[in-house]
């Protein structure tokens, strides 16, 4: 019987309206590297957040047994004390503090409340050696690269005597060399007895370093593959991740596809944070009248950046390329211009960028085209109310009245308000960015129905989603994006989840350094 360091049994976690995890089981053997894979939204991060205490005991059901003892973590500190260290995708370092200060943050080398700076930096140096980082511990964290910051995070976890290290997409933002270094470090640490859980989309990396792989899909544990017992190549993993056939979760539509309505040609965009870095590379896409075009890809593939750079240059610097509508070149310099040209974009993050949560439903629906309900800059209250009521009925927004605050609506109904807002602008091209994220199955179906109806009316829809089944279910044509490029295009009949996944994985392997 192998020595089990961690067992998570029968974990179920629900958010209002969504079951994120359902009876998930996970067993980690001492001293192994255990990979956790699954599509975006499958529930990997939720599971790790439960383990580390981000979601406290009581907000989920099930058992966590770590080193033979049942655990009920109330906060992250509790799991840290037991020796569980989690490194999140977004690093939790303070940029203006030094490496040494960051390593011992909340764990200061101090005597009687006073920080012992000598000990801080001597000890920090020791941990840096351990992770193979040759940097002065006095250096501010902002002055070192992402790869090195990742190592600082690991050093920080080790300094707290972590016995189990959880890494959430550690190589997502690293280049090839840094990734290779990180993976070999994991193997080194494993040789020293450290157990780690690795969450990653880069299946070739997982195939290389993992001792066992647990696959999660739609909040369920699908299977666990063991090294030496099962084959663990990429094809096998993809099959597990994608799994079942599509059930009838999508409303039927007979597409009536017309002329090319909107087109962008040779689109290039540079990062606003790092103007040297190209985020969108020579992208050309087109969408026809009455067509729903899916834009597939992993998180960070550049889909949102592409959409926002098109929508009135809301993202990026030095944007070059041409936008054509019905064959004629159009200017999309500001959001206002884009809306007037009939291009609309519903953002992926409805709470922070899509809605005025303290405003009511009515105000949210009309804000992008107040002109339509006003004369000489004076809003016609009756007309506005009429419009809001019309959309509340048409899109079935469940609310006490149109004067209800958007912040008090459920996710699905919020999304319907966002859609109302953009449909109200009478767009010809509607770009929808993750319109079904975080909403329940029923509301998803309603959103798909709305999208179908828009297409039937002859509008063009660009549909961005990280959920492949959804993209396959709703799109007439699918572009696959990775690392800022279009890396594949599938018509409806030829697209499969395996095909798209393979297309992405291939481009990662060919491109080498993934996301840079």
């Amino acid at each position: 019987m192998a020595d089990i360091i961690l067992e998570m049994r029968d974990i179920t976690k629900t958010f209002p309206g969504v079951t994120a995890l359902s009876h998930v089981n996970l067993a980690i053997k001492r001293g192994e590297i255990h990979a956790l894979v699954g599509e975006n939204g499958a529930g990997k991060s939720t599971l790790m957040n439960i383990l580390s205490g981000v979601y406290p005991h009581g907000t989920y059901t099930g058992h966590i047994v770590f080193e033979g003892a049942e655990c009920s973590f109330k906060e992250v500190k509790d799991s840290e004390k037991k020796g569980i260290g989690i490194i999140h995708q977004e690093l939790a370092l303070i940029p203006y503090l030094s490496i040494g200060e960051n390593i011992f943050l909340r764990n200061e080398r101090a005597k009687g409340g006073l920080i012992d700076w000598d000990k801080t930096y001597v000890d920090a140096g020791r941990f840096l050696d351990l992770v193979g980082l040759k940097e002065n511990p006095h250096t501010p964290v902002k002055d070192i690269g992402v790869g090195k910051q990742q190592l600082v995070e690991i050093a920080k976890a080790l300094s707290r005597n972590a016995k189990l290290l959880i890494l959430d997409e550690p190589t997502a933002s690293l280049n090839e060399d840094d990734s290779a270094h990180l993976l070999s470090l994991l193997l080194d640490l494993k040789a020293k007895g450290l157990t780690s859980i690795l969450i990653s989309h880069k299946l070739h990396e997982i195939a290389k370093v993992a001792d066992s792989i647990t696959i999660i899909r739609d909040g369920l544990t699908v299977e666990t593959l063991e090294k030496g017992v099962d084959t663990m190549d990429e094809d096998r993993i993809i099959k597990g991740m994608v799994g079942r056939e599509l059930v009838d979760r999508f409303p039927q539509r007979i597409p009536k596809i017309g002329e090319v309505a909107f087109e962008i040609v040779d689109w290039n965009v540079f990062s606003p944070i790092n103007p040297e870095r190209k985020v969108i590379k020579d992208v050309s896409i087109k969408v026809r009248k009455g067509e729903v075009v899916g834009l597939a890809g992993l998180m960070g593939a550049g889909r949102t950046e592409l959409a926002m750079s098109i929508f009135g240059r809301s993202y990026g610097l030095h944007i070059t390329g041409q936008a054509l509508k019905n064959g004629a070149s159009i200017a999309l310099g500001t959001v206002q211009q884009a809306i007037e040209q009939g291009i609309s974009y519903a953002t992926e993050d409805r709470k922070t960028a899509g809605l005025n949560l303290i405003g009511d439903i009515k105000e949210n629906i009309t804000i992008a085209k107040l002109k339509k309900v006003s004369r000489y800059w004076v809003i016609d209250a009756d007309k506005e109310i009429g419009v809001a009521e019309e959309y509340r009925g048409k899109l079935n927004i469940r609310s006490s009245s149109i004067l209800q605050k958007a912040g008090n609506l459920s996710g699905g109904n919020q999304q319907k308000v966002v859609l109302s807002k953009w449909i109200f602008t009478e767009p010809d091209v509607l770009i929808l960015d993750e319109p079904t994220r975080g909403i329940d199955v029923g509301a998803k179906f309603e959103i798909y129905t709305i999208i179908n109806k828009l297409a039937d009316e002859g509008k063009s829809v660009i549909f961005i989603s990280s959920e492949l089944p959804e993209i396959l279910g709703i799109s007439d044509r699918i572009y696959v994006m990775n690392d800022g490029r279009i890396v594949g295009e599938f018509p409806r009949g030829e697209a499969t989840q395996e095909g798209i996944m393979k297309c992405i994985m291939q481009s990662i392997t060919e491109g080498g350094n993934g996301k840079h």
């Binding site: 929508f311 809301s314 959001v335 953002t347 005025n356 303290i358 804000i367 009245s401 807002k421």
Partner: protein
Amino acid sequence: MESIKTMFKNNLRQYAMLIALVFIMALFQILTKGILLVPMNVTNLILQNAYVFILAIGMTLCILTGGNIDLSVGSVVAFIGALCGNFIITMHMNLSVSLVFALVIGLMIGAWQGFWIAYVRIPAFIVTLAGQLLFRGLTLFMLKGLTLGPFPDRFQLISSGFVPDILRAPKGSLNGTTMIAGVIFAAIYIISQIGRRSSHRRNGFDVTPFAAFIAQIALVAAAILVIAIWIARYKGLPIIFIIIGILILGYSFFTKRTVPGRYLYAMGGNEKAAQLSGINTNKVLFLAYVNMGVLAAVAGIAFTSRLNAASPQSGQNFELDAIAACFIGGASAYGGVGTIIGAIIGALVMGVLNNGMSILGMGSDVQQIVKGLVLLIAVAFDVISKKKAR
């Protein structure tokens, strides 16, 4: 039943400060043995606080954009006063031309600060703190530390003049102009309320029961008439009262019913979402400060006229009065929430406290303590009641 309950709850929150104001007035009415509400004192209360009303209106717009405040308005009031002094007293310029110049310079001051805040995106707090020093310094420089005065009579009329009685009512009886204005105003209120109710009905909204509606409009109309009678019993309608009234009505309409007004709320509610809805939020922010500059100039003219002198020390702490009025009146420190009427009620709360405590002969020490606590309690009440409502 449920709807009546929630309606009451909503109304309670909406009218909490109005109720507090009535309570404070009643309290001081008793404590001062009736002096607070004698007609002369009511008129004085309005004249004394004219500048706070005007500044609070402008400040509301700034706060709506995202909790941005303007710390420079006190200094701008002094600066505009100094300009008026130079134009009118020293240079003997035409009065109207001087006032137009003063307003244009107020606009330019607003544009100067708005540029740094909206386009360079320096926090409003810092830009206007700099402005506070800058314009106070310029005032001292311009006046060479001396007070200029007195102003010609016509200039003084702005803040101390009264509208002549068109009915030529005999001395001692009610002022006719005021009574006519009061009746017209009450009629406009009743008609607009009936219009709103029928519009709500047409659109299938819940409306207050008919009896409650009648009671509400009767109460407010009666209040308007009582105020009119009170003002009519003294010297009649102050000119500054008309200016403030126009500003209140105009800006209430602007914020509630116009497209740019809606932009203010949208920007304060979620700037990112507003930008992605095609709103030029930089421009909105810029114009809010331009407007503040103009209103600060109006307040500067009104205050200088009342003081009948351009003093280098005038306007100190005016910004704090205006900001406090907005927050007492229910504006959110994060933006997106707040009304002109709320700010006016807030200003009245502060004004009545000032006036009442002065009548009682309390020192400025006690007055400041009380005002500080009232500000804190009012905002705490708002924050807590909002938390409960969730």
